[in-house]
Amino acid sequence: MEYLIDKAVVYRTDDGVLWTMGNESETVTLSPTANRLLNVIIEGREKPMRRQELLTKVWDEHGLVSSGNSLNQYLCQLRKVLAAFGLSEHAIETIPKVGIIFSQDISVSVHYTDKNNVPENHWFKYRYLLFIVIMIINIGLVYFAMTAHQGVRVRNPDHIGFIDECPVYALNKNFPMTNETLVELASTFMTQNAAQCKKGKVIYFHGDNKLFADGMGNAFLSLCVMKNDRLLRCANYLTMDWSVDS
């Protein structure tokens, strides 16, 4: 925290540094004990503080041995420092049999230059808003990237029957014909292409919409050797404008 004393001297409690406002190059740094003492006196400036209270807060609570003599020495030291900044030598007053008080004639206010205590301004608020907006955009961007570029489609063709020992799978679904008819079609196509089924082979068959609608269209058949659910090699047959009668 920073205090502005007499509208001219800045006192930073964090490290006990004092300087004249506008002249930060010339500073005075208090010893840790002197700093604690000045801090306690300024914080409690509304009413006189008993000497014992000061001794407790500045020395005892910090594991130091307190004495009235030490207090007097540090008070003297502080008065000199404050006087060096043009403040009255009575800035810290001793009221006999009452205690110590920071002079009520000298103004003391909180000085907002500490970054943590700067009141929120619009720019600061907009930074938060900007942060949130960019975060939302980023999340959207990453989501788009992750979903729009997913892995490839994996096909699980329907098993529609057998040709000899070879299972036949249909690569396109929703045929307007029964599985038996489709297997028959695949069988005819195989025969015309002189493709032969042997044990260990699987057949993938596909006919385009035109083939099923007009009886003439693109027909595709792949005869693959498969072992342990892995394709070893395939022979492919694609005929454009194929018809059963051709």
Binding site: K115, N116, F124, R127, Y128, L130, F131, I134, M135, N138, L141, V142, A145, M146, A148, H149, Q150, G151, V152, R153, V154, R155, P157, L171, N193, Y204, H206, D208, N209, N218, F220, S222, C224, M226, D229, R230, L231, L232, R233, C234, A235, N236, Y237, L238, T239, M240, D241, W242
Partner: protein, 154 residues
Amino acid sequence: MIYRISALVVLQLLVSAIVYAFSVYHSQIDLVCNTWGHFSSIRGETTLKNNVYLRLFPNGEGVIGLEGSTVIQGQSVPMRKEISVKYRRIDKDTFEFTQFEMASAEKDKVPDEILERYFFPVGSRGVQIFTLSKIANGWIVGGRFTPAFVCATH
């Protein structure tokens, strides 16, 4: 605090850019497979009997290799062509192939236009939609409506 937020924003943008670039890079395919194909054109005018090699690199470039023979009006002609392409993903299983550049081996006697006329366009003007999907450890590669071949990866 302000600097911390600014740093976080910059860091966020950086992370997003990396994630985006990474996901776009991995949207491409890293594929190498080969197979054998018997492709007959309309009315059987031309038939290709070829070993087919397909290599797609994650950087969007690819190579299609064809080696075998082509029967043109009853005449068998040796064929050995390599087609370089660029590709880009359109959706999950649809890809656009562009910038076909065909190279023919010395023994290749099949005119390029035969391939272009019956199977797919070549030359820089061509754009072809391909579908790619996985089946077991292999790939189904084809046009928009009909597969052209199933190839196995090893």
